[in-house]
Symmetry: C2
């Protein structure tokens, strides 16, 4: 372990490991700061190329972060990073350099701000567009205390398309005290930006901030423009000018996403977030032989959609700024043409737009990541479900085997969707079933339908199954047995098969059920089980509270049938290990069989 | 029944009952239209004064609605009203005049647009800020069909503060086809407006729309201003000019809330929505002797908050534009001073702001109506719960005995709040318990706490109970019995007492439990019940799916204890009758006792 080293000896001004707080950079002059910026960028590239992470956003923010910490006095002055995926340099400068210098310590810090790591981090953040609002809270608390520290929200241009960012700006503009919003404008979201606002940002960049039409001024903000947001001198001048300002101000800085690393500058979307890569070429380093060739659920989804678009002129595929996560590569976006709409980071608009399209006779499909779906709960309920519009959603990463950061857990989908009357929520057990559910959903006009897209590797199911879902809430019994019935929903149907296999070896032939529908109960089937079963086991790839298993347990509330449910506990897990947490939740065939045998022998 | 009458014989131009569709007004000249506007306003006032409803919003929109239907060709041209509480004149002109002419038919139409009533209504709407987004969907569907009808969203200035309205505008501005947004600017929300945007709207009104700083232009819209939005000639000219326009345009019309009725103009907040009133004086007509004197949960809430503000300099009470619904009268707002914040119709900002205040050391309280709480689900989960900030929410109308329009049901709070790990959700059984829960929540710093504010009349509890809630998830056993235990949560604790009373008359002494906590299970207590109980009955004032009772049923999944839960079924009830629907859900002591006796005698 070599933590005491210079990254770039030619320009090295200080031992990086000696930077324990922002205080340690206050005495530097401009050339020293520039040299430090180079070193920090090199260090970033070393870690990112070995470890993966948010590449472009952090490379673009090296100078701005350095300038912020040079000018302001964190943590007395409080900086709130939006999404906080661009906070790596902030972490380097606030006592966490070792997590970038030492590969063994890479994982000691999360990819987002985290108050448990440092007093310089105020919130655990991971969703977009929240920074201004959270910062307004810090500002109000400061004013109630009659203190005077600077409150600074740092937000990217992409995140400005989220409604909460607007709500935050609209309220913040009414503050009569210090409030600083740094808009980090790199003219990109994860992919390209979408929205009328971006024409205005472009105009402001083109006019050096002087255009009279100005979104921020229209909301009541004072405004400053920094033409080169990767130039330390300009940044320091701008931040110094607004330090201790007595009213709300926007500092609009034009930065370059991926700055200082050509492959990231040339391919901004691919380098927004990525796996380890070859530093020399930028090529991704892939662990397994050729899984790049292997299709995932996003690929099969977009294959189906493109096929349907050829025959359904009213089909519209909608994303809220995460095309990559749902299979819409730049090439597939081109193929889809006007059948594809990216509304920007605006999940609410995505859902209400879809309801309007359905009402207008079209066929709307939304691809959305599970953790972000909850940003549009009211629209799913009011604009879609109450109106019974046939909106189709594929909910990606809705799984234990998805993203593991606490801010991106995909487990809460079942309580959310199934708490909305009228929504049909389908859980496919494998690729083929997913495809048939998606096709059915796109061809019907009766229900809003959501489909829980399995996490992890695609499952190639072997058995046949019904491909029509019009008979709502009819479960599929795939094996008739006795004593115990195992209902394995979606991804966890495979777990049900494994449990059944072990039980069969022990002479117990369980009934196996693929429920298909998470949003309702197959009452006749469940009643019929009472004849020759004593126990129903439910397996669901989601949090138990408010979920599928509890609905089954409630159904049998006054019967003799026993019900044991498996899923995730109601807690905030963070960067968990599937194996360890899965065992804790007893999501393991052997442990489940143990439980079943104990219950049957009671 | 006299449906064939003139309302104002001096100016009468046509038999109002003869207006069966907008087609019937197309041939009128301007003086005739003006006369018709007067008649429609008189008719509005007659119904509103007898029936109650949204007064100011409809009075202000008489001329604009008439002009819209005069210029455009509904339902080919499609008008989407935001919230749609201002759609009464639209209903008059689209085949529903009888529901305004004939008191016996008053309730044949809802207070909002409703596709089941008319092909001129496209969506069932009731929440704010959705119209532009829904209309973008109609526009996209039109474009996919290669049709050319006009798509028109009508939105008030207040609703523009909701993030979804921004998201809708931002996306709509990118359309290359016809899209018309009518901004009905009366310089009011329900109460006064809040947000930097409103300074810009004021500037635009003051400059006759010519100010270079223009929110709508900043988002990429073409823009027109109508100085007198209650003048038919100006309105018809403006709408005619944008009819069939080939790009997105905002028509900003300055109207007067309550126009044409002095009491409503002079007291805009009180006349936003109200009960029947004396037409001559504007004084509310109250059915019962003096319940105006009687305090409600909003009053006791604000009494407590004002008391706490005197001793807690960091206490901040937050509303999202519904001060009246949560007890903050104009006088109490003045008393609260800087301890009171209205963020505008911006529930997301309200919640994230609160989290920031808590993180900054303050004590944030949010008062919110149950049906609107779901608009901030992601913020409750991410910004509050993951960050464990001690935010306190009072959730009003979270009850079967609340608002009965399908868009305003308050039943879905239990699944929503209790699906979020870390939230403490308390259900008080009476006024005194509510007060002690609110005080406890405001004085602790460990948990985000929500309190389910009972609906209906305030309950004055008689018995004593513990006033500390630090021992999370401990239920309160108020009577020890055997065989059956009745868990009566919140409002429904009173129902539990009634059930118990009948059972006792029949010689069965039930255990009675006030669970206090909806967000967790008192495992030791529930286990102890197994010794001498065979049945647990749960009563909750909320939808059953994902709720409290299902959690109890799941807890007993593998025990011999039977569980029967009572609450609302998972469905969209609309303008229901408490008595009828309550009996259907068996929320009636006699019916519940019947069920209990059947189960105990099995």
């Amino acid at each position: 372990m070599n933590t005491h080293r210079s990254v770039n000896s030619a320009t090295f001004v200080m031992n990086l490991n000696s930077i324990r707080s922002p205080h340690d950079i206050k005495g530097l002059d401009l050339p020293q700061l520039r040299s430090l910026a180079n070193d920090l960028r090199q260090l970033l590239l070393e870690k990112l190329s070995r470890h993966g992470g948010h590449i472009g956003p952090n490379l673009g923010m090296v100078e701005a972060t350095l300038a912020l910490h040079y000018v302001f006095d964190s943590p007395t002055d409080k900086i709130v990073f939006d999404v906080s995926h661009q906070s790596y340099v902030h972490k380097m400068l606030t006592g966490r350099m070792a997590a970038f210098l030492d590969p063994k310590q890479y994982d000691l810090v999360s990819g987002y701000t985290n108050p448990q790591e440092s007093p310089h981090d105020f919130f655990t953040i991971g969703h977009t567009s929240t920074s201004i609002s959270l910062a307004t809270g810090l500002a109000v608390a400061r004013d109630m205390r009659a203190d005077h520290e600077n409150i600074i929200a740092v937000i990217g241009d992409g995140a400005l398309s989220g409604g909460l960012a607007f709500e935050g700006l609209d309220y913040a503009a009414t503050l009569k005290t210090n409030f600083i919003v740094v808009v980090n404008d790199n003219d990109m979201s994860i992919a390209e930006n979408h929205g009328g606002l971006y024409d205005n940002l472009r105009l402001l960049r083109q006019t050096n901030g002087t255009a009279p039409t100005n979104y921020f001024k229209a909301l009541g903000f004072d405004y400053r423009f920094v033409a080169d947001g990767n130039d330390l001198e300009q940044l320091i001048a701008a931040f110094s000018a607004v330090k201790d300002i007595n009213h709300p101000v926007v500092v609009h800085i034009a930065t370059e996403k991926g700055h200082g690393y050509l492959p990231a500058v040339e391919n901004k979307e691919a380098f927004h977030y990525g796996p380890p890569f070859e530093l020399l070429t930028g090529k991704p380093i892939i662990g397994e032989p050729s899984p790049a060739e292997e299709k995932d659920y996003g690929d099969v989804t977009t294959d189906i959609l493109l096929g349907e678009m050829a025959v359904n002129p009213g089909l519209v595929a909608i994303t809220a700024a995460t095309p990559g996560a749902i299979g819409f590569t730049p090439e597939k976006r081109r193929q889809a043409g006007h059948h594809y709409i990216d509304v920007g980071i605006a999940e609410q608009e995505a859902v209400s737009l879809a309801s309007g399209i359905a009402k207008g006779g079209g066929t709307p499909w939304i691809g959305i990541v599970s953790s972000f779906m909850q940003r549009a709960y009211d629209q799913l309920s009011q604009d879609v479900a109450i109106n019974s519009t046939p909106v189709v959603l594929s909910i990606f990463h809705a799984s234990f085997y998805g993203m593991t950061d606490v801010t991106h857990l995909g487990w809460f989908d079942i309580p959310l969707i199934t708490s909305i009357p009228g929504f049909v929520y389908l859980a496919p057990t494998c690729r083929l079933e997913y495809e048939s559910m998606l096709l059915w959903a796109l061809h019907q006009r009766e229900y809003p339908v959501a489909i829980k897209v399995p996490g992890g590797k695609m499952v190639d199911g072997e058995q046949t199954y019904p491909t029509d879902y019009s008979d709502i809430n009819t479960y599929n019994v795939t094996q008739n047995g006795s004593d115990v019935a195992i209902i394995g929903a979606g991804t966890f149907y495979g777990l049900a098969l494994k449990v059944a296999h072990i039980l069969e070896e022990k002479g117990i032939m369980p009934t196996i059920i693929n429920p298909r529908f998470l949003s309702g109960v197959d009452a006749p089937l469940l009643q019929s089980l009472e004849a020759n079963h004593r126990l129903v086991v439910t397996l669901e790839d989601g949090v138990l509270q408010g979920g599928f298993g509890q609905r089954i347990a409630a159904f049998y509330g006054t019967s003799l049938m026993e019900v044991r449910s498996y899923g995730m506990d109601q807690e905030w897990a963070d960067r968990y290990d599937y194996q360890l947490l899965g065992d804790l939740y007893r999501l393991n065939p052997k442990l489940i069989v143990e439980d079943i045998l104990t219950l049957l022998c009671k």
